[in-house]
């Protein structure tokens, strides 16, 4: 028992959990709804930039990108490229105006812009859909790590992670969540930096490993004993370093580029982060810092995916590592590579980093969705004269409901790829909220009916193309259907608004508010 507790992976995980409990305890007093939902709008650009990075760089980045690169080669690296675009567009078009608008939730934006309860309800549904899509793969990552490295069942992993999240977000609110997210980001970044240093120190230089992988053709030694068919795993390096493995056509690649690059602008948990800055200037600086952090992360993730592949091909890795890489699927490439590069201590740090990634991202999703339930639904429709205290309690109860809901979703995606599931969440966001925020902030002619049409048609189109692709003609069967669904979202808003023509009478006041000078906002 004592020996198990002293294992590096156990020590690091206990340390992370202890830190979360301590920070949550210190920040547990949320006197007002502003404290609970937007952290009192008190976080500077460094803390908030780190927290945005923590929110954005989920298990999909920490585990998924390296895993996809390991599995798909160049096409996997292309995922990272697409994920890296969105924060920059968000910083350019949305970050500053959104902070100047300054409310609690994403749905508030529509309610204010159009004086519309209907728009608020539709926005709540879309927030819950996107958050569910995003939360399921995070839980999958947590359960797989627990299963692989601590021997627990998949179901236990899901329940354990949901329980931790209910405690963490329910008690800490946005204040605790932001500080935890910022800290967790640096744990992950530290783990990645150590892995990169260990790989370079071990002679695994980028151009050399890519050359070795490219030249490999045949079967991988020492893999037969772990393969389901009992044969050594075959591999073609030339195909891995080229394109067309996963995206079979040019248009498939373009479709993913559009879906992922525009998805970030519509992610509720990222948008919400810009409400927590004290000013629009700080919001832009936060975004800039998050972009710097994300760029480094994506760069490292792709490199580590290639490092994992080269270690695997060499056939000289520890049998446990080879077993994890064969049997663990592409989601477990980062921990397995860490073990091969730095032994148990680096593995321990990476496991703590992976949990940090998952907790960080899940907490953002919990906060965004609890705002949708407690603030947008309960406080806006069912209990009009709600006090600040009751609003906080409603937020905490909604965290409990979400914990159960996300847990069920997590149980349904056991066999999925984390990176790809998150890519689909990005597509839904790009087809729904992205048109609403870009056009809502920059175009006075957008109407309530246009906004609702954009949200409904964007959501339906993306859901249909994701879940029922085989009912469509072959040329419309996209792995990531952004090429079709994003234009549907934008065009629905534009065409219906043009036909409707009835804009809110105070739209000029709204534009003045979101585009005003800093001194007028303060």
């Amino acid at each position: 028992m004592m020996q198990t507790l002293l294992e590096p992976k156990m020590l690091m995980t206990i340390f992370l959990m202890g830190t979360i409990v301590y920070i949550t305890y210190l920040t547990k007093r949320s006197a007002t709804a502003s404290d609970y939902f937007v952290g009192g709008r008190s976080f500077g650009w460094f803390t908030n930039g780190s927290a945005i990075g923590g929110d954005y760089l989920s298990a999909a980045t920490f585990l998924g990108i390296a895993g996809l690169t390991f599995q798909l080669g160049y096409d996997g690296a292309y995922y990272a490229f697409c994920f890296s675009i969105g924060l920059t567009l968000l910083a350019i078009f949305v970050a500053g105006p959104l902070r100047r608008f300054g409310a609690f939730t994403v749905a508030d934006f529509l309610a204010y812009r159009f004086h519309s309860k209907r728009a608020r309800i539709v926005a709540v549904i879309v927030v819950l859909a996107i958050s569910g899509f995003y939360a399921a793969p995070q839980l999958l990552g947590a359960a797989q790590i627990l299963s692989m490295f601590f021997g627990t069942s998949y179901e236990f992993g899901i329940i354990f992670t949901c329980t931790v999240m209910i405690f963490y977000v329910g008690i800490g609110g946005m204040k605790g969540t932001t500080i935890n997210q910022a800290l967790e980001l640096w744990i992950r970044l530290g783990a990645f930096i150590l892995m990169v240093v260990a790989a370079v120190y071990g002679g695994l230089h980028y151009h050399k490993i890519l050359a070795a992988i490219n030249e490999f053709s045949g079967t991988i030694a020492n893999t037969a004993q772990f393969a389901p068919d009992g044969k050594d795993v075959p591999f073609d390096g030339n195909s891995w370093t080229g394109t067309g493995n996963y995206f079979p056509s040019f248009w498939q690649t373009i479709s993913m580029t559009i879906g992922l690059s525009l998805g970030t602008i519509g992610l509720p948990h990222i948008l919400l982060r810009f409400y927590t800055n004290p000013s629009a200037k700080a919001a832009r600086k936060s975004a800039l810092m998050a972009i710097a952090i994300a760029s480094v992360f994506f760069l490292f993730a792709v490199y580590l995916g290639a490092v994992g592949r080269s270690i695997f091909l060499a056939g000289s890795a520890d049998p446990q590592v080879v077993k994890d890489l064969v049997a663990g699927g592409n989601n477990m490439v980062v921990p397995s590579t860490a073990q091969a590069l730095g032994g148990e201590w680096l593995l321990g740090l990476v496991i703590a980093g992976a949990f940090a990634a998952i907790f960080s991202n899940l907490s953002g999703l919990f906060i965004a969705s609890s705002g949708a339930l407690a603030h947008d639904l309960y406080a806006s429709f069912f209990k009009k004269n709600i006090t600040q205290k009751q609003r906080v309690i409603a937020g905490k109860i909604s965290i409990l409901i979400l914990g159960i809901l996300y847990g069920v979703l997590g149980l349904m995606v056991k066999e999925a790829s984390i990176g790809h599931l998150v890519a689909l969440a990005f597509t839904v966001a790009a087809s729904t909220f992205t048109p609403i925020f870009i056009l809502g902030i920059w175009w006075r002619g957008m109407t309530e009916k246009g906004a609702i049409a954009g949200l409904v048609l964007g959501l339906l189109a993306s859901m249909y193309m994701i879940f029922l692709p085989t009912t469509l003609p072959e040329f419309l069967q996209f792995r990531v259907p952004g090429l079709i669904t994003v234009p549907i979202g934008f065009l629905s808003v534009y065409i219906v608004s043009k036909l409707d023509r009835k804009v809110p009478a105070d739209v000029n006041e709204f534009m003045k508010r979101v585009h005003s000078k800093e001194s007028e906002v303060a």
């Binding site: 009835k502 000078k517 906002v521």
Partner: protein, 123 residues
Amino acid sequence: MAGEYSDYEYVEAGKIDVKDLPPLDSETEKIMKGEFSTGFKLSILYYLFIFTIPVLNWFAPEFMFSSMFGGMTYAWFLTGIVAMAIAFIIAYIHTNRYEKRLAKYETGHTIKPDGSVDGRSAG
């Protein structure tokens, strides 16, 4: 604005036909145009770079997947390394320009290339 939040009441603001909408005040319009113009130009530049990669990958694969140094191909270099730097550079240029415009709006004066404010100080 910072800090507290007051609930939004569903006050009926009414709707008007978009053709009857009065023009924006000149200051807000100027700020919006300046912001959008900079953002739009940078986005066009950024997307030119972004779409160049898949276009070249599919229509000039011999070049893109040829060796640049060691096993590093042009495609891998642009996608896995350069793109990450470009994402930051575009955002940095935008934030930098925004801060210069901000100082200009707030003071009514321009910022010189060396960073000093032409006329009275921002403070």
